[in-house]
Amino acid sequence: MWILDAIFSLPVLVVGLAILGYVAATARAHATAGSNFGTLAAQPRAHGTNAFFSVLIPAVGSFAALSLVRSIGLRQGVETLSVRSIFWLVLSVAAIGCIDAILRSSAGFRARVASEAWIKSLLIAASAIAILTTIGILWSMLFEATQFFRQYDWRDFLFSTDWAPNFRGNSALGILPLLWGTLYVSFIALAFAVPVGLFAAIYLSEYAGQRMRSVAKPMIEILAGIPTIVYGLFALITVGPLLRDHFAQPLGLGDSASSVMTAGLVMGIMLIPFVSSLSDDIINSVPQAMRDGSLALGATRSETIRNVVIPAALPGIVGAILLAAGRAIGETMIVVLGAGAAARLSLNPFEAMTTITVKIVSQLTGDTEFASPETLVAFALGLTLFVLTLGLNVLALVIVRKYREHYE
């Protein structure tokens, strides 16, 4: 009988209790007030709302907590709580909440304050998700990375220049070639994106007329809205072959379409809007009085920009570049499709190299067993990546914030 199953399923029961609480508490508030409405400290509806939340929130909370306890237990191979006991525990929490709320709904009870406290607790719970996400990220990576370092020496991981995973075991898993590829690609991307983005921002904020701005700004924003997989495909089918046929092969620098240069250039295009919009904000926050002061001394616009605006905006621009560097280091799809898969320590930008993110993808989507170091190394790589980008972001935020305080 599916109807019985549904009726006795936990969500339906809990919501049913909540609605029951709402109706009963409202009725009771009406009854205690009688004809004399003014004796109530709150509207009857507020009593109902309070009862509704008094059932729902503790029930959902206890369900989440008990399930967590159960699944942690199961991970260790112990059934600490059966499904049945969770069912009854949650249901009794809901029932207690319901009865308690109904009993409380008498004339003197400030039900609106109580129900708003429930809502506020929901808001706080929602805010906690952001923190829980960070904790989740750290925990998941630390947990699995520890497993990895139990099987693989951390000194080899950090300082070895050899990356050669082998599904039969005995793999060399040194991060240095991957780190090198990551930094090399990011460097080329920034070397392209920073001048272009910065000059574009300067031109748009200091020179361009209204019409030019209304065309160029949205155009650059479109670049920002394009998903990275599109840039990846662009690297794969257009930029890679182009660079190979017109630069790498004629110059005798190799014949691979996927290369550090391919990925770096395409990632550079992706970063242009990022650099230019951040720089634009920062350049615009330099007070007009500074520009006027310089122009009134007979400086040209470019002299004003180079000698006054840029030095004044420098901390902010450095912050923006650091944020862009964080993006570049963490970017995945462009390097997966554009940079190649071979771990290599080389200076030749037309050679295929690989990055941390590429190897995270390949180690986690491969066929190796999950508990093997070849798979677990992905978590150590992820942790490295997280620490790197977090460091860059915190540094950038500190610099930008300092800079903002300077002018506001």
Partner: protein, 442 residues
């Protein structure tokens, strides 16, 4: 002290030099913008030019005879019995039909019958089998059906494959292309609009001509639903708390720093989180839109929170004060007065966050959405639960196709990107319209 000429009407050498430097500086700026514009144009045109072909497909119209002796020896027309005849039983019928059509059109060839049969897609046999199983009465007679041409033939009519390239290709030959051209002249082969590209499921490595985006679009749709249902309320609640209620202390500072950091965490890290927490720890199903949606929710939350807070902040304090002054509680002031005014801004931010999530690829690879899926996932099944059947997503499908050997998949991948970009364009247009329509200046 100064060598400056005293007349303003005469430009001295230094000023000329400085003005030249000024002009150069302007050129650099214009150059930077042109580089960005050029990159955008080349990017879009390269994707569109290589992908637009995916929306057209080459079909062969064949009259196929369906002998009872081969398809239903028992003569019962019982689908269960007939299902025993596999696609291998149907392929020769297609080949015969093609040879007969060639004869009628007066095309002769030196190719063997088997090689001529390769002009037809391997998918065609399955199409014919499904058609016959659905209409058992056709057996004994004949049926006229439009079947897919093989990928190379399709490529020939789209200009991707030429007689020269075919000479070097083990999978086709210039002679096969000549036959195809003859059939096209006779009106048997036609290249026309390909609706199946948006509805059909993926196809195997050998059949780029049959591959479609149906499963991927459905999977993306499911994930967007999950993201919308979770990220919007959580994001709005978080921003209301932080903007309206949170006391200014270390803890709320921590939450704020935390959110701005999450916004900058590489997306692939969210994939690691999803794999470790949702799949390994919580035991949710790999490749399921539910896990994908959860991961994308966590990834999108910072975007939604940041834009929602901006929207709440833009509602002037006057409105709150007015509500409080007539005796509303803080909570009532926020929910009855501030939130409705901030709603357009919040929605705009949500749409932009959704668009970001729709295009995201890397975290989905880690939670197994890269798998080959041919069955349309159901939204709900009893044994699996909500959004738990394996699916794939639009951007992941693109990645998947780039990993295949057959060059026909490059066209498919680019076509999928055009589809993705059209969705994104629609979403962003909606966001812009919403902003225009409800924009309020205080």
């Amino acid at each position: 002290m100064t060598a400056r000429s005293h007349s303003l009407l005469v430009q001295d050498a230094r000023t000329r030099r400085r003005n030249a430097a000024e002009a150069r500086f302007r050129v650099y700026g214009l150059g930077a913008i042109s580089v960005a514009a050029l990159a955008l144009v080349v990017l879009l045109s390269s994707v569109v030019s290589s992908g637009i072909g995916a929306f057209r497909q080459t079909y062969i119209t064949l009259e196929i005879s369906l002998p009872e002796a081969k398809l239903d020896k028992s003569g019962t027309r019982d689908p269960e019995v007939m299902a025993k005849v596999t696609t291998f039983g149907y392929a020769p019928l297609l080949q015969d039909a093609l040879l007969r059509t060639m004869e009628q059109s007066g095309i002769t060839t030196s190719l063997s019958a088997a090689d001529v049969g390769k002009i037809i897609s391997k998918e065609a046999a399955a199409t014919l089998r499904d058609h016959v199983l659905a209409n058992p009465d056709l057996i004994g007679g004949s049926v006229t059906l439009d079947v897919l041409a093989e990928g190379r033939i399709d490529g020939y009519f789209k200009g991707r494959v030429t007689l020269e390239s075919a000479a070097l290709d083990a999978n086709t030959s210039p002679e096969a292309l000549r036959i195809a051209q003859g059939l096209a002249d006779a009106g048997v082969i036609e290249t026309r609009l390909n609706r199946r590209f948006l509805t059909a499921p993926d196809a195997s490595d050998q059949r780029p001509e049959a591959a479609g985006l149906g499963v991927a679009i459905l999977g993306s749709l499911y994930m967007m639903l999950v993201v919308l249902v979770l990220a919007l309320p959580i994001g709005v609640a978080t921003s209301i708390y932080l903007e309206e209620f949170a006391p200014r202390n270390r803890l709320s500072d921590l939450v704020e720093v935390n959110i701005s950091n999450l916004a900058a965490v590489p997306s692939i890290v969210f994939g690691i989180l999803g794999l470790a927490i949702f799949i390994n720890f919580a035991g949710l199903r790999q490749s399921s839109p539910l896990v994908g949606g959860l991961v994308l929710t966590l990834m999108t939350l910072p975007t939604i929170i940041i834009s929602s807070r901006a929207a709440l902040k833009s509602v002037p304090p006057l409105i709150r004060d007015a509500a409080l002054a007539v005796g509303a509680s803080r909570m009532q002031a926020v929910f009855h007065h501030v939130l409705p005014l901030a709603a357009p801004g919040i929605l705009t931010g949500t749409i932009i966050g959704l668009a970001q999530a729709l295009g995201e690829t890397a975290p989905l690879l880690l939670i197994g959405m890269v798998a080959f899926v041919r069955d349309y996932p159901a939204a709900y099944t009893d044994e699996a639960g909500l959004f738990a059947e394996a699916a794939t997503a639009l951007p992941v499908q693109v990645f998947n196709w780039t990993q295949r050997a057959d060059p026909g998949f490059v066209e498919r991948a680019s076509g999928a990107i055009i589809t993705l970009l059209v969705f994104l364009l629609a979403m962003n247009a909606a966001a812009i319209l919403l902003r225009r329509r409800f924009e309020r200046r205080w």
